[in-house]
Symmetry: C2
Subunit: 221 residues, 2 copies
């Protein structure tokens, strides 16, 4: 499993959780291969401190994607289009499951707002730019990322899964359910993902406007 | 407190919960005064069956609004603009707190989607059409409405509060906190409400795509 942008906030949490709690081989991807290496070493040390001996691989994003069975996009939204085009140009998309956790947001003095690309969502942009046969999904948008990256944190949050079809959706739900603290719920086809992505600026806004909340997740009850 | 559209789904839940759990005088409003009367009687009977003797008043929407200190809009989204204009024309808005729980949605074969008015949200439309001095808020958008209306239901959900200023926001949070099962969190100024309203089609979509979930609420954790 390659986490592209595995050096960033959400990427960090996904890398350490999947490395700590599952048997997937994890590759930290970054545009800068040496940054990927530094962060992978740092994550390994953190796992070691928790008594977990786990090798974390690293590479530039394109190499990482080519070596993986599952590609998770955790990169900034404005890099998504170019990154997918690069993966296509380099012919590294050869049947992997392609997952987006990316959300377009725009801040102003009042708060943070959903700011999707013109196709309606980042996940749909990914599906549009990837080869038509690519199994594409959106998940991991609205996590409490600080707690996700903190292996000592005790928390339970939901994540919503959209995908190109029901088979891919079930595959992603099974993948999420390998993690102890995150429950996957289906939100149906890719067409429903704008409302899912839109929750990300909302949880950040809630964190900003309520005392004692700096890292907010969602539970659907 | 007048619940305009108190005969509908979300209106029903708000009427019975506020009548059962608080000391507010509740007025069921409807465009059709006789429908308001029928439903108010029905709600009273339901409360009586729960050992609660509580009179529920009723009137057409405009009369109900004029007689209330708090006006809650629980009407269909396409009636909101006209309803506010009617309240303005009839000069019944005289300093009441004006609250919107309304969300614009549009369904297709794949799911239900956020479909706001051009100003960006129904709550902002309400604020735009009401006199500038009107204290306006948005709340009660993403409730599990069936359980809200069922006094036997055991549930705990959050609702997000936006308002014209911090004082109004705190007033609405205090109002919500009179209810036992709903926790209020601040989402800041009205400018942040699109992402709040957008959660409503999402919880309905989640109810449709996951087994054993037909009435979904949200908890921010």
């Amino acid at each position: 499993m390659a986490i592209l942008g595995g050096t960033g906030n959400i990427g960090e949490g996904l890398v350490v959780r999947f490395a700590a709690e599952t048997s997937h081989t994890i590759i930290v991807g970054s545009r800068d291969a040496s940054k990927a290496a530094d962060r992978a070493n740092e994550y390994e040390s953190r796992l070691t401190n928790h008594g977990i001996e786990q090798t974390i691989d690293h590479a530039d994003n394109t190499t990482a994607a080519g070596d993986a069975d599952i590609i998770v996009l955790a990169i900034p939204p404005h890099h998504v289009g170019d990154t997918i085009e690069e993966l296509v140009d380099q012919e590294v998309l050869t049947g992997q499951l392609l997952i987006s956790s990316v959300v377009g947001m725009q801040g102003d003095e009042l708060g943070l707002h959903f700011d999707p690309p013109s196709v309606g969502s980042v996940t749909e942009l990914v599906a549009e730019r990837a080869p038509a046969s690519t199994a594409t999904a959106g998940v991991f948008h609205n996590l409490a990322t600080d707690r996700l990256a903190d292996l000592d944190a005790d928390f339970d949050v939901d994540t919503l899964v959209v995908a190109t079809d029901e088979e891919v959706r079930q595959q992603v739900i099974a993948l999420v359910n390998e993690l102890a603290r995150i429950r996957a719920l289906s939100a149906g086809p890719l067409a429903n993902v704008a409302e899912v992505e839109s929750v990300t600026p909302l949880v950040i806004t809630i964190a900003g406007y309520n005392d004692n909340r700096h890292d907010v997740g969602v539970r659907f009850t």
